[in-house]
């Protein structure tokens, strides 16, 4: 087990490093660097040359812009890893302040969505398999197909459309009621958050749930035809015991092992849905950063999302190893 953890950990660090190199390349791709952008902005504000130099110099210093690429990368990488994100010139705010709550909310929404996808998908998939060819089974199959074909941002658009046309509202709730919008976190705010979050979770999670239902149904059907299910039934076990102890535990494996893979999709979904519904997640901030060519803020967001993903995958792997001895003891 220890060896497994160490191997996964090393692997995770490697992926983290490589993915930040890629993100760094994205920052470096546009012509000129951050100081040129900044200088251009300051010149547009008609500041005196000395003032411009005084503002640009610390930036060059900070990101080692006059040094070769590896030094620049290292400076950038260490500043992110130490959570020292610096100051966004476009937004005129420290990046940390801009990001912290949005990032935390994004993670919260993604996590709740993941739980939703797993619980609902597995439950419905199992139910469909047990009641194969029943009306419910067909209903869920159809819902599953359509759910998979409707991407979350279109679903968000449709729900927006329905709420405008049918309920005459001008926005879809958001994540908080108006009175809690700027309130500090409290128990009441958390409850309010949970009341609002489910619409968002359903929108982001529909595609994933549909996929999980299909895989779970097929898996469960395979398991149901195994002879040990008959044995269990012949032993006189109750249906619930047969399905949950002997069926579910085997059928669930491929789904648990794909949790890590479904996480990027959920984070992507949260990003784009938050753009359509204007939720206070990282999505709108990322789009703003990209539109105003604040590549530094943009790459920070991408790197942090990727970090969250990779660490999430690592945790999923550990959970899986803990659940399934075959993986733990492999090699």
């Amino acid at each position: 087990m220890q060896q497994f953890i160490i191997r996964r950990l090393l692997n995770m660090l490697l992926v983290l490093l490589l993915s930040s190199i890629i993100s760094f390349v994205v920052v470096e791709l546009p012509p000129g660097d951050y100081s040129t952008v900044l200088r251009g902005q300051l010149e547009a504000e008609r500041l005196a040359p000395e003032q411009i130099e005084a503002q640009v110099k610390p930036v060059i210093e900070r990101f080692a812009l006059d040094k070769p690429v590896p030094v620049r990368f290292w400076r950038w990488f260490t500043s992110i890893v130490t959570f020292d994100f610096g100051y966004s010139m476009v937004m005129k705010q420290p990046i940390g302040d801009l990001l912290n709550e949005r990032l935390a909310l994004t993670m919260a929404v993604s996590f709740v969505t993941l739980v939703f996808v797993m619980v609902v998908g597995i439950a419905i998939g199992m139910f469909s398999a047990v009641k194969q060819y029943s009306g419910w089974d067909y209903l869920f199959t159809v819902i599953g197909f359509i759910g998979m074909a409707t991407p979350n941002f279109l679903l968000a658009l449709i729900i927006l459309f329905v709420s405008v046309m049918v309920f005459g509202s001008t926005s879809v709730g958001g994540l908080f009621s108006a009175e809690y919008l700027f309130a500090p976190w409290s128990w009441a705010k958390l409850v309010d958050f949970l009341k609002h979050i489910w619409v968002v979770v359903v929108i982001i999670g529909t595609a994933g749930t549909a996929g999980t239902i299909r895989v779970m149904r097929a898996q469960m059907l395979d398991v149901l035809s195994e002879p040990y299910m008959d044995t269990a039934r012949m032993k006189g076990l109750s249906s619930a015991k047969v399905y949950f102890k002997h069926g579910l535990r085997v059928a669930i494996n491929p789904i648990v092992s794909s949790i890590g893979l479904s996480f990027p999709g959920i984070i992507s979904g949260a990003t784009i849905v938050s753009l359509v519904l204007l939720l206070p997640l990282v999505g709108p901030l990322l789009l703003d950063a990209l539109m105003s060519e604040d590549m530094y803020l943009a790459s920070t967001i991408i790197v942090l999302l990727t970090f969250a993903l990779v660490i999430g995958n690592f945790l999923a792997d550990l959970t899986l190893a803990w659940l399934d001895p075959r993986i733990r003891l492999e090699n």
């Binding site: 927006l160 990027p264 999709g265 789009l287």
Partner: protein
């Protein structure tokens, strides 16, 4: 394939007389692999339906100039006009076999100041086939004949946009870019995926390790944020054609990884098959074995995986364009069209602007059905 598709079981359970004919056919005569795939594919009704939907879609997209009643840039004075559908029953309640439309009067609501369009029911304008309308040039042929249309009045199946252009015609023109971007992108990832996957699986060792780590990194990126960042780098002054080209590349950057993984897995399993060993013992060279045994074994699965990833590309383009970072006007794609429906205020006034969503969903569904059908067809474990 560990998880067999739920559809397979349904089909095998419900095949009736046609399957008996099929097994008779299989017994009575030798059927080639290709014919077998074809017969198996036909068995899946949803897949066949999906295939026909796609066929119609691509034909319509190809001949958009002819199938669309108007040109994509023809502006009518009627801005944000609601759909004007062909009718059969006139204002007096009489039924007419030939559908017709009414001309509309423009006006403004004195209270809300919104534009209003009132039908002028005095004269009916019949809907016609092969109607002359906007000039176009298709395959060097100049013409002005459109599949359907109305002379003297306008038929707006899906209403008009904020510049008074017929939305239905624009959806048809948009199908062109939206559907080709998926195919082009998948072609790129198919080539990359097969080559890299086969190299990884066949060579093994350190090369395999390096490629697998690289793919792992790619797959750990959240796709939408990375796509957004990459497409934000495309300069604003590029021509639509160049942007289309680069958006396609951006979309396939993340996509080939999973394909390469599948191909690698297949290559590994084929590598240890007896027939490959026998080919090697028979003196078959490395290149010959790759060409003769690995490539055919991989190709069908890779194509299936590719078909199933077309929707992802189409949706990716739609999402990017919808957010204003993908294709940009004057290029017309479904995502570009949906951009107009981004604002809640617009949606309240002109709900029909959201209709391109339906086209996206139907296309994606059709691709999924065809992909599932193909997967079942190439699955050697599927039975008749």
């Amino acid at each position: 394939m560990s998880h067999s598709d739920p559809g397979t079981q349904t089909e095998t359970a419900t095949v009736g007389s046609s399957s008996e004919d099929l097994s008779d056919l299989l017994v009575s005569q030798q059927v080639s692999y290709r014919q077998l795939l074809y017969l198996r594919f036909l068995r899946n009704k949803l897949a066949v339906a999906g295939f026909w939907i796609l066929a119609i879609l691509y034909v319509v997209a190809l001949g958009a100039e002819f199938f669309a009643p108007y040109d994509k840039i023809t502006r009518f004075g009627d801005i944000l006009a609601p759909p004007r559908l062909p009718r059969f029953v006139d204002a007096d309640g009489r039924f007419h076999l030939r559908p017709f439309v009414y001309a509309h009067e423009k006006g403004r609501d004195p209270e809300t100041l919104r534009r209003t369009y009132v039908a002028d029911t005095t004269e009916r304008y019949p809907l016609g086939l092969f109607v002359r309308g906007d000039e176009y040039e298709f395959l060097f042929i100049k013409s002005n004949v459109h599949l359907f249309g109305v002379e003297g009045a306008e038929v707006f199946l899906l209403g008009t946009d904020n510049q008074g252009r017929d939305l239905f015609s624009r959806v048809i023109y948009g199908a062109r870019l939206s559907t080709t971007i998926g195919l082009c992108g998948v072609a790129i990832s198919l080539v990359l995926g097969i080559i890299i996957g086969m190299i990884s699986g066949y060579l093994g060792g350190i090369v395999d390790q390096a490629i697998q780590r690289g793919i792992e990194v790619l797959l750990s990126f959240p796709s939408i944020p990375l796509w957004l960042a990459l497409s934000a780098l495309l300069p604003l002054d590029w021509s639509p054609r160049r942007i289309f080209f680069f958006i396609t590349i951006i979309l396939s950057i993340l996509n080939w990884g999973s394909l390469a993984r599948i191909v690698r897995g297949l290559t590994l399993s084929v590598k240890n098959e007896e027939y490959v060993l026998s080919a090697r013992m028979g003196g078959g060279g490395r290149w010959w074995i790759i060409r003769r045994h690995f490539f055919p074994a991989n190709l069908s699965y890779a194509i299936v995986a590719a078909t199933l990833s077309v929707p992802e590309m189409i949706l990716g383009e739609t999402a990017l364009s919808f957010l204003g970072l993908g294709l940009r006007p004057p290029a017309v794609s479904w995502g570009v069209l949906l951009q107009a429906s981004q604002k809640v205020s617009v949606l309240g006034v002109a709900p029909w602007l959201v209709s391109p969503v339906a086209f996206v969903i139907v296309t994606v569904l059709a691709f999924n059905f065809v992909g599932d059908g193909l997967r079942d067809a190439v699955d050697p474990h599927s039975r008749f």
